[in-house]
């Protein structure tokens, strides 16, 4: 074993190796980077498609994608490039294909706030108790996908449950505890 490696070589043959290879340096940033088409870079969220469902947030291992609620009736999908691990799991799980992968890697900056991307969603309010429960877009998405839920889709989970229980009571005389 290791027979080829035992060959005696003169230290000078380094110069032959160097001579035959020449200079291999890629002159980036003046030339193209040494990159393949398969590279996973930063993600791009399409604001016209995103419904703010939070599937990507649940899949994201480092919490680079977060869904933050504010008191002003909005829900913000926050993408922090500085924590992203570029695994593209969010792309796998997005139900509407709103997330696209790019080959972008030139992300250096001197200000950490440059690394945030915010997508602000308006929140839908429950038709009964008026408390916010999901983004307007998500409500519409659910309504168009399964029209049979129409009666419930405009309520938050709590009111929905109450209404459902009531409906069953009316029809079957109630659920036993």
């Amino acid at each position: 074993m290791g027979l080829e490696m035992k060959a005696k070589k003169s230290p000078l043959s380094l110069l032959t190796i160097a001579g035959s290879k020449g200079r291999v340096t890629q002159r980036y940033p003046f030339e193209e980077p040494l990159m393949t088409n398969e590279f996973r870079g930063k993600i791009e969220i399409d604001e016209s498609k995103c419904i703010g469902c939070g599937a990507c947030v649940n899949a994201c291992p480092p919490n680079a994608l977060e869904l933050l609620s504010s008191s002003s009736g909005t829900k913000t999908l926050r993408y922090f490039i500085g924590r992203c691990i570029y695994c593209w799991r969010c792309i796998d799980v997005c139900p509407v294909g709103a997330i696209k992968g790019t080959r972008e890697f030139e992300l250096a900056t001197d200000d950490v706030s440059d690394l945030y991307e915010l997508l602000i969603h308006e929140e839908a309010k429950c038709s009964v108790c008026n408390s916010p429960y999901a983004t307007v877009r998500m409500v519409r998405y659910v309504a168009t996908r399964s029209p049979s839920t129409e009666g419930y889709v405009s309520m938050d989970p709590k009111c929905r449950q109450e209404k459902f229980v009531k409906a069953i009571e009316m029809r079957f005389g109630g659920l036993s505890a």
Binding site: M1, G2, C87
Partner: protein
Amino acid sequence: MSLSDIIERIRSIRGVTEVVTSKSALFITANADALRPLAKEIYWNMGGFFRTCAGSDERSINNCFAIYHIFGLDDRGLNIVVKTYADSKKPELPSIFDIVPASDWCEMEARDLLGIEFTGRTPYRLVLPHGWPNGVHPLRKDYSYDSRPAARTVSERLTLVDTISTVPIGPYHPALHEPEYFELYIEGERVIDVKYRGFHVHRGIEKLGESKLTYQQVNFIAERICGICGFEHSTCYAQVVESAAGIEVPERAKFIRSIVLEIERIHSHLLWVGVVAHLLGYDAGFMHTWRIREHVMTLAELLTGSRKMYGLNLIGGVRRDIDLSKKKKIFEVLDIISKEYIELASLIISVPQVKMRLKGSGVLYREDARKLSVVGPVARASGLRRDVRKDLPYAAYKYASFNVPVYDDGDNLSRLMVRLDEIRESISIVKQLLDQMPPGPIKVEEFAVPEGVVAVSAVEAPRGEDVHFIITGRGGPFRWRVRAPTYQNIPALKYMLKDQPLADAPLTIASIDPCFSCTDRVLVIDSSGIKRTLELGWGLR
């Protein structure tokens, strides 16, 4: 010795209450007083190796702590897991350190993180930061994760020594590239003792259990245990879950895993050869090895989407396929590498200074290697024929024929030769597997992971055998223990550095290809705080 013989011999030891065979291991439950005789029987009489031990807080299930000692009979391709219970109020178990010296660290780790005391040995703090309060054990289920200890800005551990008879190597030291701390006690230029004070990279990933990591998400952390051999960790993790859940991975996915694993091994070994050349003052060797390695990195990006941290594995398969154009590219790159690296490697070992310093330095004798259960190229350079790819074949390795290079001298040169030979074997494995790759799907989408199943899996990383142990929970692991190869190899440094010239110390430390971020991982994911009753049986299936 047949399997039934082994079971018979184990059953004959007093205190063994249960022996169960499963696909991934032989599971034994024993009383505390049977632990030492069992260890002696398996480790010395049967010629087994010690993989690791894992503590677990099972008070929510059976009101006990438990320790799992994992042994391996390499020649039979069998894992043996011994479970012993410890009292919930005063957890105490007999130490097997004097019988199995390799158990030193994992016992102390269980003591630090779970508060299990080991009788019959001197305890010391291993994993937790220096100022960590006594009696607080982060791996216990009742540990409140939101309390970070106050960050200290002065360290008691690092005191610059005032006599020149101690040379601190680390934590920020150009020979290490990683924050670890060795204190070398020297007499003149000769090392007389070594102290390792590591665990600077203890990132405590338990916290993540709390942030509700799912089985699939853990894959990506597993990959980030180590930036050089991350794919081995994620493969090992995926395999251990697949084995616990009984998921049948498509053949094509297994081939892709094996191919990428070997590509990672090539890059890792080339990296190491470069670093050694640099340590020996032969910078041109470093530059040229890394020049060759760059082809492998680009290839990895082509196959997986990233130069490192491939993000390729999921439980149930892989995310990207290898199509024809990629296959062609792999062959091209492998041809370039195999030609150039042999030329370069023979040049490097012909440089007189390099050869002189590698030969006969940092010797690890076969008996010491056996005693410490060292793994990977370190074991193979000391005459131990250990290779998980052969002993417990996983992924697609059973379809490839390859040699396991073994050298007997145990010095730094042997360790270099083992790795150089392995690059060649890896190239041949990739080529063989590419030719045989079957068509078909690359992952299974639908599966369920049952709760309370125990499983073990091992993968041969570039640095040696990588062991993952799991107890499944709801939605994520209940207990996940990782034993990285360097964890097993660092204790051997004490034997390798002793009575050696100081000048050889960085080289010898580097010769085990230490990966401290693996070692310090303490990757234990705990789905804490969830009250449940869980039937903890062995992975019967």
